[in-house]
Symmetry: C2
Subunit: 385 residues, 2 copies
C-alpha cells in the first residue's frame, strides 16, 4: 500500500461540491494528494484540490477513466455511475464506500428492502415500478391516504419526497419507479453518523436533532447533542450501529432516524458520505466528520467522535426572489456574535433555496447556542447583487 | 471597500510556507480569493491558493508588482522587502501588518530600542554595528561573559542567537550588526498572542508555556494554558497588551516572554504573524490564530480566543542523519492515540531540524495531554526514504 503521507499516493474524489471541499480541509492538513472530478467549471473544490477534472459523474467512461489514475476513489455525492465504480473495484482500485453499498442506497426501494431483510426498523412501504401503479393501488383500496411518495432515484435535498393526502397531489410527480411509505407521526427527526474503517473499527458521533420551522416544515437547526432522553439516544445509536453492521460500509454512514410518538426509532434513510447533519463537528467535536471519513477510507485509526462543546448548525440557503451573483448580507454582524463561524462554499451564483454555506454556533451552554443561532438566522441573508 | 466574501476582493500573502498554508484553511472556509508569492516552486501554499506567483520576497520589484494586483497584502514571514511594502501603502494598497512595524521588528536592535523607548520590560542590551565591536567592548571591560549574542537581522528558528561564555564562542558568528543581551536566568519561556484589528478591537489568547528538553535546550512542547500562577499569567497578558498598544499593530502579534526567577516578565521578541506558539489553537481554541489573523486584517469582528480544551503542540522536525524525500514513520500509530491530530506541511524534502509539520494533542485534562504528547514525541520520526 502506498504511503498516504507522501506524494506517491493519489486520492480521487467524485464530486467537487461543498462536501468535497470540506474533505479537502483534511487532505491539505495531512498533505494527501487529491484528484477531483465534477461537471461544473465552478465547482467549489476546483482551486483547493491538486488536480481537477471536468467530467460527468453519471458517465461510465468519465468515472472509469478518472478512477484509473488514482489509488483510491471516494465520492461526496451518491449520483455517481456505479457500474464504473464496480469495474474499478474489479481492476484493483479501492472504492470506498463500495459500489455494492452505493447501488443499494442509490435506489430508495432497494434501500428500504435492505432494511426489511436485515430486521432494521423502518416504516412500512410498498414498491411501485411506475407512478400509475400507485393510482391503481388507491383504486383497489390497497393504499390509503395519507402516505409518503418517494422517487426511487435521484432525489436530493427534499426533492423526490412528497406527502400525498389526495389524488391530485400525485399530478405533477415524476412517472417512474417509486415507493409509498406509511406517514409516521414523529416527535423528532434525529441523525447518527457512524464511521467504520476496513479493519472493522466502528465509532458513532453523538445523536443530533433536526429542529424544524414551526410553519415552513423545513429544517432550521441541527442541534448537537440532541435534547432527548439518554435512553432514546442509546436506542438511536443502537439502531444506527445495526444499520452500519448490515452494510459493513467503509467511511461515514449518516443514518437519518425518526423518533416516533411512542419513542420507537425508525430508519428514514442513509447517506454513505459526510452529511449536512455533521457539519458542526468541524468546530464542536474532537474530530470532524470530514477528517473521520478520510481516516476511515485510508484505514487509519479513527479519531475521537465526542463533542467538546455544544454545537448548532444553520444552513445558509439562497433567499427567495434572488438569483444571480451572491452577496452574504450582514455576514460581519453574525461574526461579532459569540462562537459563530460562517462557512462559505464558494458557489458564485445564488438561487432560491440553493445551499450556499452554513454557520456553526458553539457554546458550552446549548441553550445559549440556540439563542445565538436564532439571531444568526434572523440576521444573515443570502441575496443577489 | 470590496466585499471580502465575493470574488472581487483579492488577498495577497507574501510567503507560501506552512503559516501561509494554515491561513488558507480560513480563506477557503470564508471563500476569500488569495494570491500567494514564494520563491519556491514547491511551496506548501502552491496548490491551496487561488493564484501562485514565483518570486523573491526580498526583491523590491517582485513584492511591489505582486502587491499591485491585490487589495490587501499580508505576510507569513518577516523577511520581506519592506521598502516595497511602504511604497504599496503610499499608493493606497492596504498592508497589514504595516511596513512601519515590520521595519522595527525585522531588526532586533531597533526592536529592543523600541521596547526601551516605550517602557516595556526587556533584558538590558548593547547594540553593535559589527561583531568586532563586541570584542573591543570585552577588552575594555564594557561587556562581561556570559551574554547573549543576537544577529540584528535575518535570524530564524534559533539561528542568529548564541550564548557567549568565552571569546572563542564568537569565532564563527556573522560579522555584521548585532546586539549583546544580558543572560537572564528564567523559570519559564511563555508566549501571548495578541490580535488587533483596524477598529482597535484587541483580544489576547491564553498564555502558553514552552517546555524545553532538559538536556538539549530545545523547545519540545507548547502547552496551553501555561502551568503558571494566575497572577503571573495576568502579568504576562498585561505586558503583551502593552507591547500591542505600543505597536498598534493590525493582525496577530505573538509576544515571546521570559518569566524570571523573581517572577518578573520580560519581553524577548515579537512576531507580527501566526506563530509556532499558537498552532494548537486550531484544535483547542474557539478561533484559531490563523482565522483570527484573517479576521483582524479584514477588519472583521474578532473571534473568541479562549481555550475549549487543553492543548499541546509538538513540532515535527527532520531527524538528524536524514536528508531527502520525507517519510513520516509511525504516523498511523500516533493517530490511534486519543485527541491526536497531525499536520503535515507538504514539504517534499526533509533535512535535520527542518520544520516538516506539527502534532496537536487535545484533552480535557492537560496532564493526560502531556503524557500523550510524550508518547507522540517518542513514536513518530521524520526520516528520509
Amino acid at each position: 500500500m502506498a504511503n498516504y503521507f507522501s506524494s506517491d499516493f493519489k486520492l480521487g474524489i467524485l464530486g467537487g461540491g461543498q462536501l468535497g471541499k470540506m474533505m479537502l480541509y483534511t487532505t491539505r492538513k495531512f498533505d494527501i494528494t487529491t484528484h477531483v472530478m465534477d461537471s461544473s467549471e465552478e465547482a467549489p473544490c476546483r482551486s483547493a484540490c491538486n488536480h481537477f477534472t471536468l467530467g460527468d459523474l453519471m458517465d461510465f467512461d468519465a468515472v472509469y477513466n478518472f478512477g484509473k489514475q488514482v489509488n483510491l476513489v471516494t465520492f461526496e455525492i451518491e449520483n455517481v455511475n456505479v457500474d464504473a465504480l464496480e469495474k474499478l473495484e474489479k481492476e484493483g482500485i479501492k472504492v470506498y464506500p463500495s459500489s455494492k453499498n452505493l447501488r443499494i442506497i442509490q435506489n430508495k426501494a432497494t434501500q428500504k428492502l435492505f432494511y426489511r431483510d436485515h430486521g432494521i426498523p423502518t416504516s412500512d412501504f410498498t414498491r411501485f415500478a411506475y407512478l400509475s401503479e400507485i393510482e391503481d393501488a388507491i383504486d383497489n383500496g390497497g393504499l390509503k391516504f395519507p402516505f409518503v411518495w418517494k422517487a426511487a432515484q435521484f432525489g436530493y435535498d427534499g426533492n423526490g419526497v412528497k406527502i400525498v393526502r389526495q389524488l391530485s397531489d400525485l399530478e405533477d410527480l415524476p412517472k417512474g419507479e417509486c415507493i409509498a411509505e406509511d406517514l409516521v407521526p414523529f416527535k423528532n427527526e434525529l441523525a447518527v453518523i457512524v464511521v467504520r474503517n476496513p479493519n472493522g473499527d466502528v465509532k458513532t458521533y453523538p445523536v443530533v436533532e433536526m429542529e424544524f420551522h414551526p410553519e415552513a416544515n423545513q429544517v432550521e437547526y441541527v442541534i448537537c447533542p440532541a435534547r432527548i432522553d439518554e435512553a432514546v439516544a442509546k436506542k438511536a445509536k443502537n439502531v444506527a450501529l445495526k444499520v452500519s453492521e448490515a452494510f459493513k460500509h467503509v467511511g461515514l454512514l449518516a443514518v437519518e432516524l425518526f423518533q416516533t410518538e411512542t419513542d420507537d426509532i425508525l430508519v428514514n434513510e442513509v447517506a454513505p458520505r459526510p452529511h449536512n447533519s455533521g457539519h458542526q463537528t468541524i468546530e464542536a467535536n474532537y474530530t470532524s466528520q470530514f477528517e473521520q471519513h478520510i481516516r476511515a477510507i485510508l484505514n487509519l485509526p479513527l479519531g475521537k467522535t465526542e463533542s467538546i462543546v455544544g454545537g448548532i448548525m444553520v444552513n445558509l440557503v439562497g433567499a427567495e426572489g434572488h438569483t444571480g451573483d451572491v452577496v452574504y448580507e450582514n455576514i460581519e454582524e453574525i461574526m461579532s456574535l459569540e462562537g459563530v463561524t460562517p462557512h462559505i462554499y464558494g458557489k458564485k451564483q445564488t438561487r432560491p433555496f440553493r445551499k450556499m454555506g452554513h454557520v456553526t454556533i458553539v457554546n458550552e451552554d446549548l441553550n445559549d447556542a440556540r439563542r445565538i443561532a436564532e439571531q444568526v438566522k434572523k440576521t444573515i441573508k443570502v441575496i443577489s447583487k
